[in-house]
């Protein structure tokens, strides 16, 4: 084979470029792979009958009439599945004495929330399956619902589970908190309600299980195909090596598809019993009921400060609504916030306590930010209250307290080490982009005039711990999962590169970003890299995507695997060139003798070809350049930033309009600014959703009232302004790329920025807080509109 040296080109670094996404071309033409798209010969459709009661004993289930309905192949009650259905897993027992109740995928004796599956029908099409549900007969003996987080802990409260309504109490303390509060010149105490949210990813969940002999392929709309594979194996007893899990195109997750769901287990069991492929596609109203919910905490928080606003200490007492059961990481969600209530600030003493409480509602679990938005909200709201109390600008009170650029790495009172950051720079840039002084002047003018529409400015200087890893720390926190991530880099015979990543995307743009990282590391064209993911047969190992971890862990693994490819290629090149490997340098996609012209080198493409035919390999080298790497960092990463929100509040109606929004985020090294901005935009919108619009509301019997998107209000384009984004770039020190992660930053930062803005607009009218979501009526009542 003749080899032609590739002329060396001076190439621009891919990392940092606003590459348009490779994912888009098929998505904009409707060429998609949503799970519900899947058709298969003999495909059956499953539909679930769901409990209309929040709490009841099931006294009778009779599915026999449903079995007689046209097109019905089978119908099952929970008892029909018996012990085979196992118990849905909780992988984060946060304390030794935590109560983890049995959680059958289909209720057998007692239902504990509205929407819990109690029976199912399998039919030849989805219409017939829906019809047959109505033929199932089921009787309930009502039990009292448990709906109020505080009352649930009363001694005379009805019990959700026999072991009591307290799931656990977890504490963290550092410094002398009592001393910090004793004689403190300023103490601010507040109770905040983090309302229950519904994640509402645009794609409703769907599952297709296809049996082939004793082997099962599970297509599911999940964030975690790898984790799910071993969870399904452990719940159902189907051996892990007979299960293949595929997450095809997944239409958003935001934590809600980080779960081992009842429906996934039950579809697998039904397919196993019937020996035919089974599909389930949820409806939106079914999803609002039964996709795990987010947030739902009652926060009693206090800060103690000097007269000049310098913080002395903080106390946090949380009640966290677990819902009826502990799902995959339900109990751990508040703990992801436990280390963040101090925010970007210095203080000497810290006391955190969280009690997880059972109620007869859908379980809560991860939702974008997971614990950290709640913590950030509390401290950022308190900093504004502190500023008002001591009469200084809220930016100034933050300056007096934050960790300055020169103080990194910084060991926080909550026990983390923040590796890097520049809060001063991010804040300065945000203030300029926002036109802070001008808006303050307008605010004063409107106040002086007594304008009906008052202007408020909300500030949020946040940081967060993300890049969920390191494995060692997760272990210390009792989380059963690992935190590493894996990548395989395969160099194909033609020199094209295939990256297999264990980080499974659901809209983020991994294919594009990983291509950029690999193209830089290997010196190959961006177009020559493809990325495969989301199929345990193609990528057998991984810890998947959540907690803003993909880039900081999975992206770094891609980089490290590319380095290993180069090391193998170096030995092959040295052998072919008959030179010592140490005398070679790698540049522009080729090995060459140090200082020699590139044309005289061996390109990675040539080396791929040489390895493929293996005609002349060095001793001890296998004929492949392919390499795998895992990355498990020593620390979390800590994105930070300053978000500023200007709101106009109509004091007559209480209506809040967001007038302008500026976000300056520091997410470390930016691989693709387009994708980073997109993540920030979407995160802000979801955080605004919590601040203004969204809440899962139950009636006194425990029925969810917000089962549709007509009732659960998600903002549209017409409800939001254009967000202005800016960046500072302080590289993370915990990984070789300097990246931090950006998936959750916008959501974490924006909620307190909006609420601070509303309170700021109305403070002169005596308003000190508004409960979320800040509906027009709540704002109006806060102003004193009610008689």
């Amino acid at each position: 084979m003749t080899v032609t040296p590739t002329p060396a080109e001076v190439r621009q670094s891919e990392v940092g470029r606003a590459r348009r996404r490779k994912e888009d071309a098929r998505l904009v033409t409707g060429q998609t792979r949503w799970t519900d798209n899947i058709q298969a010969p003999g495909l059956l459709h499953i539909a679930f009958l769901r409990s209309p009661m929040a709490h009841a004993r099931i006294t009778r289930v009779d599915v026999s009439a449903a079995r007689e309905m046209p097109g019905v192949v089978a119908a099952f009650s929970g008892a029909d599945f018996g012990a085979e259905q196992g118990s849905l897993p909780c992988a984060w027992p946060v304390t030794e004495d935590i109560v983890i109740p049995d959680h059958p995928p289909m209720a057998t004796e007692t239902v504990r929330y509205v929407g819990e599956a109690v029976a199912c029908v399998v039919a030849t099409d989805r219409y017939r399956a829906a019809d047959a549900l109505e033929a199932i007969e089921i009787d309930y003996e009502p039990l009292p619902p448990v709906l109020d987080l505080e009352k649930a802990l009363d001694a005379d409260s009805p019990l959700v589970h026999d072991a009591g309504n307290r799931a656990y109490t977890w504490t963290l303390s550092n410094g002398d908190v009592e001393a910090a509060f004793r004689d403190a010149p300023v103490v601010i105490s507040r109770t905040f309600r983090q309302q229950r949210l519904i994640p509402a990813a645009m794609e409703p969940r769907a599952v297709v299980v296809t049996p082939l002999g004793d082997e099962y392929t599970v297509h599911t709309s999940t964030q975690i195909p790898h984790i799910l594979r071993f969870l399904l194996a452990s719940v159902t007893g189907v051996p892990e090596h007979r299960l293949r899990v595929i997450a095809p195109d997944v239409g958003g997750g935001f934590g809600s598809k980080l779960q081992c769901t009842a429906e996934e287990v039950l579809c697998l069991l039904a397919a196993k019993r019937l020996g035919r492929p089974v599909k389930w596609t949820e409806s939106r109203s079914e999803g609002n009921l039964t996709v795990h919910h987010g947030r739902d905490q009652l926060q009693r928080v206090q800060i103690a400060a000097e007269a000049d606003g310098r913080l002395r200490g903080m106390k946090i007492d949380l009640l966290a609504d677990m819902g009826a059961y502990l799902m995959l990481v339900t109990p751990g969600i508040p703990l992801l916030g436990a280390f963040m209530y101090n925010g970007v600030y210095k203080m000497a003493a810290y006391d955190f306590r969280c009690t997880g409480v059972f109620t007869t509602k859908m379980p809560t679990d991860a939702y974008r930010g997971a614990g950290r938005p709640e913590a950030t909200f509390a401290i950022e709201r308190l900093m504004d209250e502190l500023a008002a109390e001591i009469g200084v600008d809220p930016v100034e009170v933050r300056r007096r307290n934050w960790i300055t650029h020169g103080e990194f790495p910084y060991d926080t009172v909550a026990g983390l080490t923040y590796d890097s950051g520049d809060y001063e720079a991010a804040t300065e840039k945000a203030l300029q982009l926002f036109g802070y002084d001008k808006l303050r002047a307008e605010q004063k003018d409107r106040r002086d005039r007594g304008d009906t529409v008052q202007l408020g400015i909300g500030i949020s200087t946040y940081t967060e711990m993300c890049g969920l890893a390191p494995s060692r720390v997760l272990g210390q926190l009792g989380n059963a999962s690992g935190g590493w991530e894996q990548a395989d880099v395969r160099v194909l015979p033609t020199g094209k590169v295939e990256v297999a990543t264990g980080a499974t995307p659901h809209g983020q743009g991994h294919v594009t970003a990983w291509s950029q990282i690999a193209a830089d590391a290997l010196g190959v064209p961006f177009e020559d890299v493809s990325v495969v993911y989301g199929d345990t047969a193609v990528v057998p190992r991984g810890w998947d995507t959540y907690g803003s971890r993909s880039l900081a862990i999975g992206g770094v693994a891609v980089h490290l695997a590319c380095e290993k490819v180069k090391e193998k290629a170096r030995r092959v090149a040295a052998h072919l060139m008959e030179i010592d490997p140490g005398d070679l340098e790698y540049a522009e996609g080729a090995f060459r003798v140090r200082g020699a012209p590139a044309e005289q080198g061996r390109s990675i493409q040539e080396l791929a070809a040489a390895v493929f035919n293996a005609h002349d390999m060095p001793e001890g080298i296998e004929p492949r350049l392919d390499s795998s790497a895992t990355f498990d960092p020593a620390n979390f990463s800590f994105p930070h930033g300053t978000h500023l929100c200007a709101v106009e509040v109509d004091t007559e109606t209480g209506f809040t309009k967001i007038r302008s929004y500026v976000a300056v985020d520091d997410v470390g090294t930016v691989v693709n600014p387009l994708i980073v901005d997109g993540q920030v935009h979407g995160g802000i919108a979801q955080g605004i959703g919590q601040a203004l619009y969204e809440e899962a509301v139950h009636d006194a019997e425990g029925n969810l009232l917000t089962t549709t998107l007509a009732d659960y209000l998600v903002p549209s384009a017409a409800d939001l302004p254009a967000f202005v984004t800016g960046r500072t770039e302080t590289p993370a020190t915990s990984n070789p790329l300097g990246v931090k992660g950006v998936g959750e930053a916008g959501t974490i930062a924006s909620t307190p920025a909006v609420v601070n803005g509303i309170v700021d607009a109305l403070r002169h009218l005596g308003v000190r807080d508004v409960q979320m979501p800040c509906t027009p009526e709540r704002v109006w009542r806060a102003i004193g509109g009610a008689s």
Binding site: A130, E286, T706, A710, L713, S716, D719, E777, A786
Partner: protein, 285 residues
Amino acid sequence: MIPARFDYAQPTSLPQAVSVLSDAGEDAKVLAGGQSLLPLLRMRLAYPSVLVDVGCVSELRGVRDEGDHLFVGAMTTQHDLVRDPLIREHCPLVSLTAATVADPAVRHRGTIGGSLAHADPAGDLPSVAVALDMVFVTRSPREERRIAAADFFLDYLESALETDEILVGLEIPKLGPGWTYHYEKFHRTAQAWAIVGAAVAVRRADGHIAEARIGLTNMAPVPVRASSVEAAVAGAAIDDDVLRRACATADEGTSPASDLHATPEYRRHLARVLTRRALATAARA
């Protein structure tokens, strides 16, 4: 979600539609644009035995000038209400209110007849119907009726239509020159239903409000007229304080509901504010 089974009929003339509906019995339902009905069917909140699709009934289509009023066929879509030149010229309150209904795709299918016959007090067009004293032209096997708007809405989701009666169209009075209009809709998000709305027509004379018609959305199980405000503003100066005083009774005679988005007390407050704002905007247009 998936609708339960039903039979389907697609008559092509009004007599045929009336007879099909009559034969189908009391569990039959008329399907117009389907933008309210289809979600109800999908959620299995309605189980009609027969759907009588009136989409091909030509008598229900079209907008005609009939002298002192327009005749607007029941199947006229909300999109057409926004754009139709006759409606824009003679009944602009209908056009500008229709533009606030749901979203563009829904307005392409949703009809004036469907919106009104559905009799949802949170709908935007019912309050316009009462404000303008529209006349509902209906047909049943027994008779053709002309029902005044004030008599059409009986209760929440309940109208004067008999089960075998079809809404053919609306006679919408032309108020004539000198009238200006506004619909003030208050909702939490752009596509959400109105918490409260105020549909207002104002006739100005000599820099004063000579006459006003005010319909309120979602302030009772049916759309209501703010009659006491209409009386109070007759002859009033176009002045915020004057209007504020006049609108203090906007919620008089209403019985607003409590739901996810608002309490009755807040709705009453909004009725006063929105009525004032709608009057001021219309009077200054």
